[in-house]
């Protein structure tokens, strides 16, 4: 599900839209930002054992 290139694909689509349609470009960039957050959370979850060693949070 978390295919690696999908956020980059959104970034590319948003870049192309940035020269044509302001509203569409903003929507695509925002979607790209959300995807980066989701992808980071998913991948960051793999590092929870490391983060737990850092002491009190």
């Amino acid at each position: 599900m978390y295919i690696g290139f999908i956020p980059v694909l959104f970034a590319f689509a948003a870049t192309l839209a940035s020269f044509r349609n302001l509203a569409l470009a903003r929507v695509l960039w925002c979607a790209c930002a959300v995807l980066v957050v989701v992808w980071t959370t998913w991948h960051g979850a793999n590092h929870m054992p490391h983060l737990k060693q850092l002491g009190a949070w």
Binding site: V8, F12, S18, R26, W29, C32, W39, T40, W42, H47
Partner: protein
């Protein structure tokens, strides 16, 4: 503070920042293609955050300055800053192996944390400068005129985003991003694509 810039000057300043983002993405490709350091999952996502930082500035170049575009860029910089901080936390543990080369003693994720944090401040500063802009010769057009240099920088930005898309696909195919230490492009390495 009496610093006042015209809208045209603000756009020139933003163009310089887009050029800086292009330089960073080019540098990332130098480490990837020349030194053979393939980007990890966080590295790939940090690259997208640089594109997000450039997004609002690009929209300002194309459609004219709008404060909402600074918010978009600032949001991208915030995500990049937090992502870099997470990366630093993961790698700060004693015994953990760093990913990528160190530049002037700091690894790339430490540098990106500094850069993204500075970029947040830049977006705030630009929004203030825009609010206090001086009346210049800028006509309130929706499509501001652009120089050849602006076309060149924006074209380079588009090219680098496309190159990152190709790179991410060749590196991981239809699979998720892989952690650090990847040695080859999965889509170019025969048989590896089919491995679990």
């Amino acid at each position: 503070m009496s610093l006042q810039l015209t809208e045209n000057r603000l756009r020139q300043l933003e163009l310089a920042v887009i050029a800086g983002i292009c330089f960073l993405l080019l540098e990332a490709f130098f480490y990837q293609l020349v030194l053979g350091e393939l980007p990890c999952a966080f590295c790939n996502l940090i690259r997208v955050c640089f594109m997000l930082l450039g997004s609002g500035l690009l929209l300002n170049q194309v459609f004219g300055i709008n404060p909402w575009n600074y918010l978009l860029s600032g949001f991208g910089a915030l995500i990049g800053s937090l992502l870099s901080l997470l990366f630093m936390f993961v790698k700060v543990l004693p015994g953990s192996t760093p990913i990528g080369s160190a530049i002037f003693g700091l690894h790339m994720y430490a540098w990106t944390f500094i850069l993204f944090t500075a970029a947040i401040m830049f977006c705030l500063f630009m929004a203030v400068l825009y609010a206090r802009r001086a009346a210049g010769n800028d006509a309130p057009t929706t499509r501001p005129s652009r120089s050849g240099l602006a076309h060149l920088v924006m074209g380079l930005f588009v090219l680098l985003v496309a190159a990152n898309l190709v790179s991410a696909f060749l590196q991981n195919g239809f699979d998720h991003f892989i952690g650090g230490g990847q040695q080859h492009y999965r889509m170019l390495y025969e048989g590896d694509v089919m491995k679990p």
